[in-house]
């Protein structure tokens, strides 16, 4: 790229600038910029990451592992995995349907629809939780009726799922739409003229083309779903052993000064995050050509 091939000979030059190509910064400027980047990221990102694990292991492995074995901790882990297992497939299905609808058909109001799908990115998670409470809470007409019928949403699992789907709403669709626009409609149309059914076309033509983008979006969605805090804090009611997810449990433990327990659970969530990050990086390295051109999230 911009790496200069430095001439070995030609030492006749009395001007050192001769060895620098037009597009290169001076070695000193380079070194300073790299140092700032690495140093800044070290303080801002690597230090907190290290802090999670050192705090968790302050009293040794045994204490950390034991704290994760408690009944409340186990129930929090189960709940978070359950919520993720419901919210992510829901979102993936929505993302595929929305991307299909938006890229395969021309209709009025498309731009507005895309804005609506993007909207959750710009709404505070706390406001999202508030909206759900106002819609389904016991004091609203709809919520009151649902509670009376035995299907409470707020302070129960459906509310947490809904909050999680809200905050992760755009991830899959946003990843799929650019990829499907780029690929156009010709391949699907070809399959149809060859007599394939709609489902067959989708499964054998579209899906193979979008699988890496789908996986990518799903990964981002999973990371966010497991870690969502603000929206869930509002709708869950924070009932220990029932609606306390892992992030909520971290908050409760931390506020009770149970530092090792809080950081042990945080370390476990961080482990999940690092796994998704690794998978995501691997995808970017190996299948960059089949992902959306601008990877923003």
């Amino acid at each position: 790229m911009s790496d200069a091939t430095i001439p070995q000979q030609g030492a006749r030059a009395n001007n050192p600038a001769r060895f620098r190509r037009a597009n290169d910064e001076s070695p000193l400027a380079r070194a300073i910029l790299i140092l700032l980047a690495v140093g800044g990221l070290g303080i801002l990102v690597f230090a907190p990451l290290a802090a999670v694990f050192t705090e968790a292991l302050k009293q040794g492995w045994a204490a950390a592992v034991a704290s994760l074995g408690s009944r409340d901790a186990q129930s929090a882990i189960r709940l978070t995995l359950t919520i993720t297992a419901i919210a992510v497939p829901l979102n993936a299905a929505f993302g595929i349907a929305a991307a299909w609808f938006i890229t395969k058909f021309d209709f009025r109001g498309k731009a507005f629809l895309i804005t609506l799908i993007d909207l959750p990115f710009s709404v505070s998670p706390v406001v999202a939780g508030l909206c759900i409470v106002l819609l389904f809470g016991a004091n609203s007409a709809l919520g009151g009726w649902l509670v009376a019928s035995g299907y409470p949403i707020v302070f129960a699992i459906p509310g947490i799922v809904l909050a999680t789907v809200f905050v992760t709403f755009p991830f899959v669709a946003r990843e799929l739409i650019p990829v499907m626009i780029e690929q156009g409609r010709a391949e699907e149309e070809a399959a149809l003229t060859l007599g394939a059914s709609g489902w067959r076309t989708f499964l054998t033509v579209t899906l193979p083309n979008i699988r890496w983008a789908l996986l990518y979006g799903t990964l981002l969605c999973t990371a966010r779903a497991m870690g969502e805090f603000g929206a869930v804090a509002v709708v869950s009611g924070k009932i220990r052993g029932q609606t306390a997810t892992m992030p909520i449990t971290i908050e409760m433990l931390y506020n009770e000064y149970l530092s090792v327990a809080a950081f042990s659970m945080a370390a476990l969530l961080t482990g999940f995050a690092l796994i998704t990050l690794t998978l995501k990086t691997a995808l970017e390295l190996r299948h960059a050509d089949q992902l959306a051109a601008t990877r923003r999230h």
Partner: protein, 239 residues
């Protein structure tokens, strides 16, 4: 200004882009570097412009060693194959760029910059397009703006890399004459790179045929056509 290329070689890693070549270009000449891709013609042009540095050898401007001059010090009007216009600037700002980039002491006053830019717009016969952005121009217009931008710095020579490469056949013919006219008007030593032998023969006073990092032949178009010095030149100009 006359230019001497004295035993210039260039290696990229282990591959040799130029085996030592020497060439003397008289002041005011219009020279074509002609050859297939990979012949080293663009590398030679970039070495003259100060965008690459030779592994060995010297470049002389008017007999003085210019090898160590930075690209900024060379004051070569360079026209890139892609034109490399600044997309976020108007045509006017593109052409004025080199004058405005000068250190404060040498920078002409605002009115003088405007006068010179407008004069150049007239020279390229596009006096009305100063306010437009490059994305609003046709390919031929972009090429002429790139030419004007390079001329604005009062260059000591003009260096053009495949100046007609990105244009369709009809525009290409028109602009050839345009380049010839500008050359005759300014009298600047002008060197352009091309892989199109017809273009080289029609436009240049002096044609330098290159292949695989070597100079095969230097001569006037008719000499090359009538007396090709090597097998390669014969093949290349007949295809």
């Amino acid at each position: 200004m006359h230019i001497d290329i004295d035993d210039i070689s260039k290696e990229f890693g282990t591959t040799a882009a130029l085996t030592p070549v020497s060439l003397s270009i008289p002041s005011g000449a219009l020279v074509a570097l002609l050859g297939p891709s990979g012949s080293g013609k663009t590398t030679l042009l970039r070495i003259l412009g100060g965008l690459e540095f030779p592994t060995s050898g010297r470049v002389l401007f008017n007999g003085q060693d210019a090898t160590g001059l930075t690209v900024q010090q060379r004051r070569a009007g360079f026209v890139f194959q892609s034109y490399a216009l600044f997309r976020h600037m108007t045509v006017f700002d593109n052409i004025a760029y080199g004058l405005r980039a000068r250190p404060r002491k040498e920078r002409p006053p605002k009115a003088e910059i405007a006068r010179r830019v407008n004069k150049l717009l007239e020279l390229i016969q596009l006096p009305q397009i100063g306010d437009r952005y490059p994305s609003q121009l046709s390919g031929g217009q972009r090429q002429r703006v790139a030419l004007a931008r390079a001329l604005a710095i009062e260059p000591r020579m003009m260096l053009l890399d495949e100046p007609f490469g990105a244009l369709d056949a009809k525009v290409r013919k028109e602009l050839r004459q345009g380049l010839r006219d500008i050359h005759d008007e300014t009298g600047l030593t002008t060197i352009f790179v091309t892989h199109d032998q017809e273009e080289a023969m029609e436009l240049a006073d002096l044609v330098v045929v290159m292949s695989m990092g070597r100079i095969e032949q230097i001569g006037r178009p008719q000499d090359i056509r009538e007396k090709p010095a090597t097998e390669f030149v014969r093949d290349f100009i007949t295809t």
